[in-house]
Symmetry: C2
Subunit: 471 residues, 2 copies
């Protein structure tokens, strides 16, 4: 069966119903069939439907099932269920499901999969549940998992796989190849052989394609890359991801503080990290915390979103109080109240553009000492340029609407001022937060709209008050 | 030299100055030294400084240099310059640089690198420049590159590498290994051997680790994976990326419409695609077009950002006109003008939260027929819940500020209405755009703020007019 990214022949799909629709989404009909088989307790039918699916597809299927059907599916599949599938479901779903399954089932399932996947599954459980599961495992597995879990979250040590292939430098290529052919229990997938000394200090790495291209009689020490890119176990996963991206790696040795090889980071985990980090930035800019998932409940979602809204409520009061300064002016000229939100919101939009570019460039390390100043100047000039163009449009429209050319001039001036501020603060705020070691994606937005709202209202209403001699 | 993601020993850095600072950014001092060597025309010094750097670091260096120094660097380095570095710089910088270099230099440089990198470098050039470079290349290279360039942008065919290792099914593992050791000119990196029939139809794939674990006497046909995940050359690169992510691939065969093997997609290119697509979503939500880069000029940046601002200016007028309906009310009670932006902006913030989650879930195919309805209900309830909590706060604060409890009740009611709309439209707008095959990330924001502004102003001012009998 060839799983094309573009088209999928319905004949080739598992069982009689296509598993995914043309858009790559899980098919409704297929989920229905699985649910029916679960309801009927039909083990054979379930294995026929789900048995051959990739673990990642099984993960999507679990998410699509009703809450109560999920543990039943795993129970009915028994040994045919690959726990790796649980790495592909939302955290909320995973944690609930693990709490409902018997600890010995989880312990047995987790023991059979790669250590990085096992850690990923266990790390979100609370201490008690996790210990209950680990206690059911054989000593060696328990020790290996516990060691990975002891590294802080979001470090390379947490993400690494502790299964790898290591060999001493004096082995020949032929010997390594024979060893690989003869040794059971090697990792499922590996892309390089690590060369180590007796204390497991890393001497180098030999990618498989180099190994295959070498003579059987060559020594590992002759063909190894002596300077492979490596990662400290305590390094942040994001730093590791940047390294993979920058140097196009597929795997990298993970070293402890004594330079001993303790594991390997694989590119598929890095792919997840990159996706996660991009997601976090995007959500942060949208005022959503990183761990919100679409499977969360109403209550959980509402709670996780409200702190951001409360902060915004406070800043909204701040800008309202600026308007409050000019109550007398507005009373004399209500047109000002009609027009003022335009100046404020345009500043917000332009500032957000500058901020978005800055936040992303900071995340990908594109902004440094050498170009920060140039970027600030650029944003100021862009704000000024677009502000001037829009000011003309806005001035003409507003002046025409209220048949008051002076009002047009005033709103146009306020617009230029606010757009300039928007460009400047759109880049300065993220830069400042980054320098203060705060995440620019999270907090830039609040500060920025506070600036653009207050400057927008103040410049427009202030200019009008002064010009028309009101207030 | 071990390039740690966490720490980098200054002693181990190239030459005497650290190339990157602790944050992973290019060091100012290093760039200065390179610029000085360029100014002095000191070839030897340049090769000493830059010669051993990874091509990706050279790319960062090029971006950090002054405009005029860039072609000079490449000229002085001569054959020591690896054109792969150009895949790591911004499009703007790359195109300018390629236009300034002599076509024969580019042709020679591009000929020596992997075809996917060559295509990446050439694809952004205009027809004339590109032809001028291709004309300088030997026939076989030109034909291969032209074929890749004939595939539409952002397809797998454009991103694929045309160098791969293929073998017939009747070869033994030993034969393949000997072939790999004896054949010069194999691709730089490969992770699997493709098994093909005489017409280059794909029969299967043998990952290198499987090959190494097999007996030398086994036939390829016995060990191959008969159902490898493959991609059509015309498939969208984003679909290919989803497949890599879902099935944890490091490479995948690319097939033409007749199922013939034409190339291979590598995970490092997919990493770039994932980063690009996440970037595009993020920028689109911030009102920035996908191709804006931090190296763009003021004029280019201003021009590319203004269409979005003009659209927003129009919608801002729309909401202003809603306020205009209530001029008489505001004249009687200026407090309304002071408070109205709060209702509108809180709706905007809450709606953006819902929209951000929806846009991202649509992009990663997490929303499908099976959960869309549940998500709409969830967002409506979250809007209602958070709206109610914030309404109480806002009502008390506003009522207290203007010593008018009735005003507090009115603004609280308007707040609940607007927050409910914000939640509903925050998810319905992206869903509708997605169904209409429009990109939800690009257009959702405008529609959403139009809804939350107009509903916010109308509900608050309308309720006040009705309650106080003004207008």
């Amino acid at each position: 069966m060839t799983a094309d990214a573009e088209t999928r022949d319905p004949e080739e799909a598992p069982a009689e119903t296509a598993f995914r629709d043309e858009e790559g989404r899980l098919s409704h009909a297929f989920v229905g069939m699985v649910a029916a088989a679960i309801a009927a307790g039909d083990e054979a039918r379930l294995k026929e439907l789900v048995g051959d699916l990739h673990e990642s597809d099984v993960g999507d299927l679990i998410e699509a099932l009703e809450h109560d059907d999920r543990p039943k599916l795993i129970g009915l599949l028994g040994k045919a269920f690959d726990f790796t599938a649980l790495t592909e479901v939302d955290e909320t779903v995973r944690v609930q499901l693990l709490e409902e399954l018997p600890p010995e089932t989880v312990a047995e399932g987790v023991r059979l999969i790669d250590s990085d996947d096992a850690v990923y599954i266990l790390e979100d459980l609370d201490e008690v549940d996790r210990t209950r599961i680990l206690d059911q495992m054989p000593g060696a597995d328990r020790v290996a998992l516990t060691r990975s879990l002891d590294f802080p979250e979001e470090t390379a040590g947490r993400r690494m796989q502790t299964e790898f292939v290591a060999a001493p430098p004096f082995w020949t290529v032929g010997h390594v190849i024979d060893y690989l052919a003869d040794t059971p229990g090697l990792p499922d997938t590996f892309y390089e052989i690590f060369v180590v000394d007796p204390a497991y200090k890393l001497l180098g790495a030999a990618p498989l394609d180099k190994l295959l291209r070498a003579r059987r009689t060559s020594l590992l020490s002759d063909i190894l890359d002596e300077d492979p890119r490596t990662v400290r176990a305590t390094a942040d996963q994001e730093e590791a991801a940047r390294m993979f991206e920058r140097y196009n790696l597929v795997s990298a040795a993970v070293l402890d503080d004594a330079d001993r090889l303790v594991g390997v980071l694989m590119v598929d985990d890095i792919l997840d990290v990159i996706e996660e980090e991009a997601d976090e930035d995007l959500r942060a800019l949208g005022g959503v915390t990183g761990d919100e998932e679409i499977s969360d409940t109403v209550l959980y979602t509402a709670r996780s979103r409200i702190p951001w809204l409360v902060v915004n409520l406070c800043t909204a009061f701040l800008s309202a109080s600026v308007i409050g300064l000019f109550e007398a002016t507005i009373e004399h000229m209500v047109a000002l109240a009609v027009l003022m939100p335009i100046v404020a919101s345009m500043g917000g939009n332009a500032g957000t553009q500058a901020m978005t570019v800055a936040v992303r460039a900071l995340a990908t390390r594109e902004i440094g000492g050498h170009n920060a100043r140039r970027l600030v100047r650029r944003e100021a000039l862009v704000g000024l340029a677009n502000g001037s163009v829009l000011a003309v449009l806005l001035g003409l429209a507003a002046g025409g609407w209220f048949l008051n050319p002076q009002l047009g001039v005033i709103i146009a001036t306020a617009m230029v001022v606010n757009m300039l501020c928007a460009g400047l603060f759109g880049i300065l705020i993220p830069l400042a937060l980054d320098r203060l070691k705060a995440d620019p994606a999270v907090a830039s937005g609040v500060f920025l709209t506070t600036v653009t709202d207050t400057v927008g209202f103040f410049s427009f209403l202030g200019l009008a008050t002064w010009w028309f001699g009101l207030g």
